[in-house]
C-alpha cells in the first residue's frame, strides 16, 4: 500500500540549527493497517506525516503508494489519495465558509475545480446524512459558518471531510491534542468508527500512550528521526504503558524524558 524507502529530511541544513528530523526511515503499510505513532518532542512524527502528504520534499529516499512513486508529486496532487486531519482545529476547515461549502470542497478532493455549482442539491442530502452520523446536531446547521463551531466540532467535521472521498491513506496528526479530554475521547471514538466502517488505512500520531495502545492494530515508536520499534498484531494487544516504557529503556538505554507523554 504505502511504502517509504530510506526517507530522510534535514531542516536548516548547513546552519547551526541543523536538525536531522528523519534519518533513512523505511516503513511499509499494508491495506487496512491502522498505525499509531508515538514518540517524544522532535522525534519526527509530524515530519513523517508531512513528508507523506508532500508538505515539503524529501531530501532522499522514495515514497510509493499502490506501486506508484509519489516522491516528487506536489502536495495538492497527492491530496487525491490522502485524507488529512491536523492538530490545529483551525487548519482543516475554512472558518469564513459554511459547513456545506466546506464539505463540498472536501467532496471534490482530487478533482479539477470547474465552473459548475460549488454545492448541489443532491450533495446536500448526502452531507446531511453523513453529519447526522456524527451525532453533534451539525446536520441542522449546514449553512452556519464553521468559525462558529467549537474546536471539537471542527475536528469532527474535518475528520468527516477527510473521509468523504475514501482516501487511500488517512493521516491524523495529533488531531485530538488541542481538545479537552472529553471531546478528545469523542473525536477518537468517531475516528476509530469511521476507520473500521470504511476499512481505511490510517496513520495516527499521538502523544498519548494509552490511546496509542487502545487504537489501531500496529504501533510505531519513534525517536530522533528513526523508528525504535514497530509492534503489531497480538503482541500489541497485550502491551501496556509500562511495557512500552520498558522497551524504550531497553532500546535506547535512557528513560523517556518527555513529561507530556508520560503524564497523559
Amino acid at each position: 500500500m504505502l511504502r517509504l524507502q530510506k526517507v530522510c529530511k534535514t531542516f536548516n541544513k548547513n546552519t547551526v540549527n541543523e536538525k536531522k528530523a528523519l534519518i533513512d526511515l523505511s516503513l511499509h503499510l499494508k491495506p487496512g493497517d491502522f498505525v499509531t505513532v508515538i514518540g517524544g518532542n522532535g522525534a519526527g512524527k509530524s515530519t513523517l506525516l508531512n513528508l507523506i502528504a508532500g508538505v515539503y520534499p524529501c531530501d532522499g529516499g522514495s515514497i510509493w503508494l499502490d506501486g506508484n512513486d509519489i516522491t516528487r508529486l506536489p502536495e495538492y496532487k497527492r491530496a487525491q489519495y490522502l485524507g488529512r486531519v491536523f492538530q490545529d482545529p483551525m487548519r482543516g476547515t475554512a472558518g469564513d465558509m459554511n459547513i456545506e461549502e466546506n464539505l463540498a470542497m472536501a467532496y471534490r478532493r482530487g478533482k479539477p475545480r470547474t465552473l459548475r455549482w460549488g454545492v448541489t442539491k443532491e450533495e446536500r442530502a448526502l452531507y446531511r446524512e453523513k453529519l447526522s452520523v456524527l451525532g453533534l446536531g451539525l446536520e441542522d446547521r449546514m449553512t452556519s459558518k464553521v468559525g462558529l463551531l467549537s474546536g471539537g466540532q471542527r475536528q469532527a467535521l474535518t475528520l468527516l471531510m477527510a473521509t468523504l472521498q475514501k482516501p487511500k491513506v488517512l493521516l491524523l496528526d495529533e488531531h485530538t491534542a488541542a481538545l479537552d479530554p472529553k471531546t478528545a475521547e469523542t473525536v477518537l471514538t468517531q475516528t476509530d468508527l469511521i476507520i473500521r466502517r470504511e476499512h481505511l488505512t490510517a496513520m495516527m500520531v499521538t502523544h498519548n500512550m494509552s490511546h496509542a495502545l487502545q487504537f489501531g492494530n500496529r504501533l510505531i515508536m519513534m525517536h530522533n528521526g528513526q523508528i525504535l520499534f514497530d509492534i503489531g498484531g497480538e503482541e500489541k494487544k497485550k502491551l501496556s504503558v509500562e511495557d512500552l516504557l520498558a522497551r524504550f529503556r531497553d532500546v535506547q538505554g535512557t528513560t523517556l524524558d518527555n513529561d507530556r507523554m508520560l503524564l497523559s
Binding site: 491530496a79 490522502l82 465558509m97 470542497m105 478532493r109 465552473l115 471531510m161
Partner: protein, 334 residues
C-alpha cells in the same frame, strides 16, 4: 447654492458607481483572497489608456474598447500573480513591482505621451446620448456605470458560487486546507488576481471615456480609494450578511466615498487634499478593530477598579491583574 450642491452630489453618485467596479476588484483581492494588491494603482490607468487609445486611434466601438481594457487589466493581474506564486515574491512587493513597471508600459500604450485626450471622439456616453437625446451627463454616466456594474455583480455572484469560486474563497481563508483538498493555491491566487485587475481596468476604461481623457497619473491612489470604499461599504451593512448584499455594499461604499469627497470639496478643501483625507479614513478604519479591543480593555480595568472592596486588599489586586490579562488573551485567540 443648494442646486449647485445637489448637482455635485448627483455627479458624485455617478462617479461612485463607475468606481464601484474598481471597488469590487479590490474587494476580491483584499477581502476574499486576503491579498493587498497594489497593482491596481497602475492597472486602473492601463485600462484607461487601452480604452482611450482603442477609441481615439484604433477606431474601435467604445463598448468593445472596454473589453480591451478588461483584457489588459487581466494581463496585469497575471503578472503580479506570476511574481507572487511562481517567483515567490511577497504579495505587496509583487504588486509594487508590477505597478512600477506598468508606469512605463502605460506611457508606451498612450503613444509615448502622458495623456490621451478624447475630445470630439465617439465615446460610450456620446453614443448613449445619440440614442437617448436630452439625457444629462450625470445620468448618462449613471446609466452606463449602472448597467456594467449590474453585469459585474451578477457575474461575481455566480462565479464565487462555483467550484472554482469556492476554492478561491477558501484560499484566502485557509490555504493549508485548500492544498490538502487537492487544489493548487497558485492557480486560485492567479485567477483571483486576474479577475480583480480585469475589473479595475474595466473601471478605468469607463472612467477615461466619461472624463474625456486618459492620463498616466489618474490611477495613483486607487488602492487606497478602493480600500476606503470597501471599508465604508462594510461599515454600512455589517460584515455578517450574505454574499450578494455584500457585493451591493461595495457599490454603496464607493458611492458614499464619492459623496463624502464631494461634500468636503464643497466645503472648500482643495482636490489635492483628497488623498490625505482618504488615507486618514483608511488608517482609522483599519485601526478600528484594535481600537475597540483597547477601549474594551480600558473599560474592564475601570470596572474592576470600581468594584467595592469586600475582600482583603490582595484579592482586589488579583482581580485588577486578572482583568489586565483578558484583552491579551483575546488577542492571542484571534
Amino acid at each position: 447654492m443648494f442646486l449647485a450642491f445637489t448637482g455635485t452630489v448627483h455627479s458624485a453618485i455617478a462617479q461612485g458607481v463607475i468606481w464601484s467596479i474598481m471597488t469590487l476588484g479590490v474587494y476580491i483581492t483584499f477581502r476574499i483572497l486576503d491579498f493587498a494588491d497594489l497593482t491596481v494603482d497602475s492597472s486602473f490607468t492601463t485600462g484607461a489608456a487601452v480604452s482611450a487609445m482603442l477609441v481615439a486611434h484604433g477606431g474601435w466601438n467604445p463598448f468593445l474598447a472596454l473589453f480591451g481594457a478588461l483584457a489588459a487589466g487581466m494581463v496585469c493581474g497575471f503578472i503580479t500573480g506570476f511574481l507572487n506564486t511562481k517567483m515567490k515574491i511577497p504579495g505587496i512587493l509583487a504588486g509594487i513591482l508590477t505597478m512600477t513597471a506598468l508606469y512605463s508600459i502605460n506611457i508606451r500604450i498612450m503613444g509615448d505621451s502622458s495623456m490621451v485626450p478624447l475630445n470630439g471622439v465617439d465615446t460610450a456616453d456620446v453614443l448613449v446620448r445619440e440614442v437617448i437625446p436630452g439625457i444629462s451627463a450625470a445620468n448618462c454616466q449613471l446609466l452606463i456605470g449602472g448597467v456594467v456594474t449590474a453585469i459585474v455583480i451578477a457575474f461575481l455572484y455566480w462565479f464565487f458560487g462555483t467550484e472554482l469560486g469556492c476554492a478561491i474563497r477558501a484560499t484566502g481563508n485557509n490555504p493549508y486546507m485548500v492544498r490538502s483538498l487537492g487544489v493548487h493555491t497558485d492557480n486560485t491566487t492567479m485567477v483571483a488576481l486576474v479577475l480583480s485587475n480585469g475589473l479595475v481596468a474595466l473601471s478605468g476604461g469607463i472612467f477615461a471615456q466619461m472624463q474625456g481623457s486618459a492620463s498616466v497619473d489618474m490611477g495613483t491612489g486607487t488602492i487606497v480609494i478602493g480600500l476606503a470604499s470597501v471599508i465604508i461599504g462594510e461599515v454600512v451593512l455589517g460584515r455578517h450578511v450574505g454574499f450578494l448584499p455584500r457585493l451591493l455594499c461595495m457599490v454603496l461604499g464607493s458611492v458614499i466615498y464619492r459623496i463624502v469627497i464631494a461634500v468636503v470639496l464643497f466645503l472648500g478643501l482643495k482636490s489635492t487634499d483628497m488623498k490625505l483625507i482618504t488615507a486618514i479614513i483608511v488608517a482609522i478604519a483599519l485601526f478600528l478593530p484594535t481600537g475597540k479591543r483597547k477601549v474594551q480593555a480600558w473599560n474592564d480595568r475601570r470596572k474592576a477598579m470600581r468594584q467595592p472592596v469586600l475582600v482583603p486588599d490582595r484579592a482586589v489586586e488579583d482581580s485588577i491583574d486578572g482583568s489586565d490579562k483578558d484583552p491579551d488573551e483575546a488577542n492571542q485567540k484571534e
